[in-house]
């Protein structure tokens, strides 16, 4: 260690280390008392922590994902305007059909002035529930892309709302769609999960049309 011989070091060497010599003393600990306000704050934070854990334990279970058990809604909630809800759901469609519903030439068909949209509501519901693979023809132009099924993604009310929304936007005008219509189509298609093609969809709507005239 340094101590034993250090007194014998020549002054010259000490001068060469001006940086270390010019320092202040090594740090020392003061003994000021801990402020009482701070101790009160510690107490407050500890109490808050205890309360928060007791309030949000999620039953300490690996299967509880919400900090509080789901609250049961008191009575039926107020009905939501389908145009508002539909616009939100339509967010899922804008990647292809674009926000203005005009689609992209060659790949994604337009929703504006399209008989598929404003025409038979059951055919439209069927497309939304099962999805459809191209090529298919809309207003004389061919579109090649594929559309996903939305049956797992949205419930009847949401699908009905987005149908109402696209049937009444960008100059389209068609009656609103009720969620019962969607529920009925969904039930009919329960055992037909495959995406439509142009021909299978035509077949389906022909059957539907026949059923109605009967």
């Amino acid at each position: 260690m340094s101590a034993p011989h250090s007194d014998n070091l020549p002054d010259r060497i000490i001068q060469m280390h001006e940086q270390a010599v010019r320092e202040m003393v090594e740090p020392r600990d003061g003994i000021s008392p801990t402020p009482v306000t701070f101790l009160l704050m510690c107490f407050f934070f500890t109490a808050w922590g205890g309360y928060y854990i007791a309030d949000n334990p999620g039953n300490w279970s690996g299967m509880e994902y919400n900090e509080k058990p789901a609250t049961v809604a008191a009575g039926p909630s107020a009905p939501i305007d389908p145009m508002v809800m539909g616009k939100e759901v339509f967010g899922a469609c804008t990647q292809c059909h674009q926000g203005d519903g005009k689609g992209v030439a060659g790949t994604y068909p337009p929703l504006v002035a399209s008989d598929y949209v404003t025409g038979d509501e059951r055919r439209l519901a069927a497309i939304l529930v099962n999805g459809i693979n191209g090529p298919f023809v809309v207003n004389g132009a061919t579109y090649s892309s594929e559309m996903p099924k939305w049956r797992d993604y949205f419930n009847d009310e949401e699908i009905a709302a987005v149908m109402t929304y696209i049937r009444n936007s960008w100059g389209n005008k068609a009656p609103a769609v009720g969620k019962d219509t969607v529920a009925k189509v969904r039930a009919e298609l329960a055992d037909k999960p495959n995406a439509w093609t142009a021909s299978s969809l035509a077949e389906f709507s022909a059957v539907v049309a026949k059923g109605e005239t009967k």
Partner: protein, 203 residues
């Protein structure tokens, strides 16, 4: 001497405590997770990745997609995830039981991808988007992944697998074909589907 021992012991105990609390206990709790059988077609959910999608996960990892995209949907009423249609329900631990490595992500420079396969199954859309994001999402700050594609000079002939580039993005007489890695990545993205209704996600 005593204090040395105290500090070392204290440091060791605190870290061991949080390791068991945060890592080991949840890991033990997750042991009870079992896949669910889909009554409609007898398939299993969640299922491990296989084939191209499995290889595509490596591409997703090595390109660092996770630094801008998350793969998790927050619960209804907490953030805008569900209302932005990024999922039909929140994601739960069981959704990820086969994920290795897990790619939850912490940043949404781009949208969430937990269900991109359910929302956008079209391969062509993904190819166009990866080749040049401006084609499908003008204004995006996503880089172009042109090295996941190769250019084929084929004149009039359209080679198999050529992506349907709009004329404005296509050089005369050339076609763009995804490489194997491009195809793997798109299959991985198309496999991102966490819509199956798990009971614990219902709360």
């Amino acid at each position: 001497m005593n204090r040395t021992f105290l500090v070392i012991l204290g440091a060791f105990l605190t870290i061991a405590f949080s390791l068991s609390g945060l890592v080991l206990i949840p890991n033990w709790q997750f042991q009870e997770h079992k896949p669910v059988v889909n009554p409609r077609d007898g398939s299993q959910y969640p299922a491990p990745y296989y084939g191209l999608a499995l290889q595509g996960r490596d591409v997703y990892v090595d390109q660092g997609c996770a630094y801008c995209h998350t793969q998790q949907v927050r619960p209804k009423g907490y953030g805008g995830d569900i209302r932005r249609n990024w999922g039909n329900r929140r994601t739960v631990a069981r959704d990820y039981m086969y994920e290795y490595p897990i790619l939850l992500g912490t940043m949404r420079t781009g949208p969430d991808l937990a269900n991109i396969g359910a929302r956008q199954p079209a391969r062509d859309w993904h190819y166009l988007h990866l080749y040049n994001p401006q084609i499908t999402s003008a204004g995006s700050v996503m880089p172009r992944y042109q090295y996941l594609f190769r250019t084929v000079k084929a004149g009039e002939l359209v080679p198999a697998g050529a992506i349907p580039l709009p004329a404005a993005f296509q050089a005369e007489g050339t076609h763009i074909v995804p490489t194997a890695r491009g195809e793997q990545l798109v299959e991985y993205l198309r496999a991102q589907n966490r819509t199956f209704p798990l009971p614990e996600a219902k709360q």
